[in-house]
Point group: C2
Chain length 197, copies 2
Amino acid sequence: MKQFDYGKVKEQLKEALDKKRYDHSIRTMRTCIELSKALGCDVEKAKIAGLLHDCAKGLEEKYLLMGYGLSDIISTDLIDSYKALVHSPLGAQVAQREYGVEEEDILNAITYHTTGREGMTLLEKIVFVADAIEPGRMYEDIDKIREIAFVDLDKAVIEVMNANIRHCLQTKRLVHPLTVISRNHYIKKERFKGETI
Amino acid sequence: MKQFDYGKVKEQLKEALDKKRYDHSIRTMRTCIELSKALGCDVEKAKIAGLLHDCAKGLEEKYLLMGYGLSDIISTDLIDSYKALVHSPLGAQVAQREYGVEEEDILNAITYHTTGREGMTLLEKIVFVADAIEPGRMYEDIDKIREIAFVDLDKAVIEVMNANIRHCLQTKRLVHPLTVISRNHYIKKERFKGETI
């Protein structure tokens, strides 16, 4: 992995994002570091993914107009339906082209940080959970999720997905099918774990 | 539609189901009648669909062993994952072959009474909602759903889907992708309605 100039990247990110999102990015990065140390993930990669996971948030229109494409999660005709998800696959492309991230595993962690997916890597799970439990977040059950994240990351992944789905139900948002497909995958994995004990 | 012998069908259903499920079927049938009268649906069809919607419930193994197939909602390898849904597509086949129902729209209402689907017919929506609001049901928000069902059935469909998904989250059950795809369809429809007012 090539040397990553945190000072420069942070400056660039601070310039691009509004203050609230930038602060959230820094806190997510820190939680990524903590989780990586506890769970044996590559700290450097988790740090970069955590810092840049929201690099396209609030800037969707700008980056779409600049010609950044989408992905198989959000096709063009679905942008309006899933406004809150567009920044994730878009963010991976922005991280690559505007912030110089080359590692596919970091880019995937950014792509799937909102929906999750089946069979996530440790890095993907850490970014997914860190985004939801960083110290600035407040919602029902968050303390329980913060606790289990360091003990049983898969369980924390399910709990974060539950919280995300509940939020969509409350706010009348669409639920992306990939979110329930991912949750189903981890529910089945948990059941299987239970059976082998 | 050929003459339907309610006396005979009720006897047969009473014999097949346990008392709790049979009573629920009768209540669902009555709610189907009320909703149909209020909303201009074919009362006879709704009555039959309501009465027979759970005709395979608790009898999944028996009917699978008897060679009744499944459908595109639940393929054989998914039976274990979606135990609570199997009775719906299976029930349509049982209704046809064991109870003599020939009308495709009634059979579809039985097939989709648990997951829903995009673009449901009035009959399908009535059975879907009646099953969830019949007088024996008790859960959060049910009184609100009972009220709106007679005024805005699509909204009631969304609320029932929300309640179903919440129940899956609470009980660690899998959420069938078709449930969120159907909910997304009706959420989008509601949004569109809002725009045209």
